[in-house]
Structures are given as C-alpha cells and as structure tokens.
Point group: none
C-alpha cells in the first residue's frame, strides 16, 4: 500500500478552510496535513467544526515556519497552481501527477502536494521547491477554485489513480529536499562571493537555476558530487570579505 | 460538443449550499441548475455571495415542486448516493457514469445528475426516477461528503471525461549536443585544473557527471547559464600550468 502524499497548505488564512481541507483529505484517505505559517496560529479551535469529524488529521497536523522547512524531508513535491509562470517545470494533469506520486510512493519515497494561500495562491518562491506543477482542468472562464475544493480534487484523483495503477518502475529516489536546499545555498553563496549576479537579477536567476537543478532530480549521491565539485572549484580562490 | 448534464439538487436546505454548488458547476463548465423544492424558497439572496461570481447559473436556475417534475423532459438520469439500497439499478463509478452521460449527450439526449438533501440524501422515491446510481469512491471510514463537494467531483469527472482537456505542453527543446559537449569540456577542464579527480577515477567520474547533465536535458539557454557559472567560479582562481 502506497503512503499517500502529504497535503501542505502554505499560509492558510482561515482556520475554517484548514478544517474543510482536513475533511476533504479524510474523504479520500489522505492522513498527513502540514501547515506553513497559518495566519491565525496553530492549533486553532476554529478548524474543528468544519472538519466534520476529521479531527484526527487536525490533531496530527504539523506547523512549519517556512515552505522550505515543510518540504525538508520529502523526495518529490508537486505544486498546485493555475498559472504556468514561465518556469521550466513540467506541468501535469491531475491524473499524470497522481501516477507520478503513486509510483514514487510505492517505491517508498516521501511525497507531497503544495497548495497556496486563499487569495493569492503560491508565490514563485514556494513553487521553486517543487518538482512539477499540477493544474486542474477548470473552465478557463471560471478558474476560481477554493482551497478545500482543490484539496478535494487532489484527494479524489489520488484515490482514483489507485484503481488502475500497475507496477510502474519508479525513478530513482531524489535527494531529500533539505540536501537540495543545502546545495542551492552553497552554489548561491559561492556566486555571491564572486559577484556573479547583476544588480536586481539575483531572485530570478536563482529561481531559474534552482529549477534546472530540480529537473535534474539529483539523488543524495549526486548532491554530494556537485557539492564536492563546487568546493573544488572555489577552494583555491581567495575569499572576498562579505 | 456535448451538452453537459443538468445538475438537480433535491430539497437543498441552505441557500449557501446552492451558491457553492453553482460555483463548482462553473469551475467545470456545467451551466444548468435545477432545484426541487428548496427549503428557503427560490430565488434567494443568500446563494449569491457563496457562488463567487457564478451568478449567471443562479439566475438561470429553475425551481420545481417535485423530483418527478424536475426530470420530466430528460432522457437519462443518474442519482448520486452512497448506499446501494437494494434497488435493481446499475451502480456506476463516476468515470463510468460520465462516459455513459457523455455518449448520450453526444447523441442529443438530455441528461442530468441528481443530488440529495444535505443530511439525508436522496429518498428511495427520488432514486426511483433515475436510470443508474453513481457512487463516489470515498474512504469507507469517512463517507461524509458535503453537497457542493459532490457537485464539484461530478463536474470534475465530467470535464475529465471530455476530449478537450489535458493538452500537455511540449517539453522545451534540449540544447544541441555540441553545446552540451562544450559544457562538459569546460567543466572537466576546470576540474583538471584544480586537481579534482583521484588517480584512475577520471573516466568513471566523468561518465557519471555527464550522465547527470544529460538527464537534466538542458536547453541552450541553460547551457549558457552553467558555462557562465563555471567561468564566474573559476575566474579569480590562479591558473595551474597544464
């Protein structure tokens, strides 16, 4: 039995929406909820009644200070967003995303689906920690999907994908997200040290580079290799003063 | 293009739920709402705000005194219910139900999906006017699905069953192989210059690194970026004599 993906809500504003999301998760057998900086704090009484009995999910939910911390132990993350954002990430239908998540889960990899804020969705920085983008096939004339509705659809499609999945060999396990973030920090630190970034360009250049590295889906061994390469390349260079 | 099934809500109690159902319909392009004896009367102001802009659906919604009247002009009706009820009706998965509805719609038949009251669902009399039963594959341990959630899932599955969804954007074109070989040569030259490779290990380490970069499937722009990164990292380092 595949361990279902965790559901991660980034900065949910209303406890009511957290409760409704938990209810939707319970409908389709998703047990693990993670919250990034919920606006009203956590735990919160206001989530309980909308959960309609799915309180075990609320009781077990973990809160994190940042998206990066919430995904630290995960091997594969899908971000839900309606916009393609011009990022170099695979854009998946819900069914293709669930097939990917399921084959990784069956191989023992920890996975998650990321959902954004009620009004503004996920920021580019949130999306930058993800391996792929999931877009729901809503009518382009009416795309406004509330938070619990998006979680419900993901849960439904997860469960639906369980009916007809054969033994698809999973891709090799990517490094835990924390190892990748360590590589990012080392690379960006080295590039800062040599004055690589033109003024004002650092955020977008960093995002593009992270996207490329995520597409590479490096294993833990790969990350060690690249960190060694970076150390070798910068080792004999005189340090600039920060 | 097939005319989508009408959504029929039987004795909905709260106008808010009618509004949320309309919103879910709009998400997936279902235009026609029918109401059977809504408890608070119809039209009702309380439905408008929860519809989140899907007010055209509310304005066009028709109210009927009984389920029999609401289905009078229809050729094929599916009833949503969690219970099998021992009726001699086909019980369909959502996807089989939508395939059936879609093929009938394409043949010009008027169809609908029937949803029950918030607490008690459809009565046996309601179900008796339907041709088949649709059951959502919820977790048996947590079957409580609210009205708008059930409508949302039906709408999603209707749209998913269509042919006009899931146009997957093509993957970006990878860099010409010559550009990649140029990147390999630059990287390996820099690593030679800093004495990175242990004795005898260069061939296998080089192969592994090239494999990783190939898996990355970099675009031509990606290759330019990484060559710039390499130049920046090695630029201020004193050269070894070859």
């Amino acid at each position: 039995m595949a361990l279902p993906p965790a559901i991660i809500l980034v900065e949910p504003q209303l406890p009511e929406n957290i409760g409704m999301a938990a209810r939707a998760m319970a409908n389709f057998g998703l047990p693990e909820l993670r919250l990034v900086a919920p606006r009203e704090g956590w735990p919160h009484e206001g989530a309980r009644s909308p959960a309609a009995g799915a309180t075990a999910i609320l009781d077990a939910a973990a809160a994190f200070a940042s998206t990066a911390e919430a995904v630290g132990d995960l091997a594969y993350v899908v971000a839900t967003t309606a916009r393609s954002r011009g990022q170099m990430k695979r854009v998946l239908t819900p069914w293709d995303a669930m097939a990917e998540l399921r084959s990784r889960s069956l191989a023992g990899q920890r996975t998650a689906i990321l959902f954004g804020r009620e009004r503004t969705g996920l920021s580019n920085d949130d999306v930058s920690v993800a391996d792929a983008i999931l877009t729901f096939p809503v009518d382009p004339a009416f795309t406004s999907l509330n938070l619990a509705a998006a979680v419900l659809l993901a849960g439904y499609e997860w469960r639906r994908s369980g009916e007809d999945v054969g033994a698809v060999p999973a891709a090799p396990s990517p490094a835990p997200r924390a190892a990748l973030l360590g590589l990012f920090a080392q690379l960006e630190g080295e590039l800062d040290a040599v004055g690589y970034y033109p003024a004002g360009k650092r955020p977008s250049m960093t995002r593009n580079m992270r996207d490329m590295l995520l597409r590479l889906a490096p294993t833990e061994q790969d990350v060690r290799t690249w960190r060694g390469v970076l150390r070798a390349l910068s080792g004999s260079r005189p340090r600039r003063k920060g």
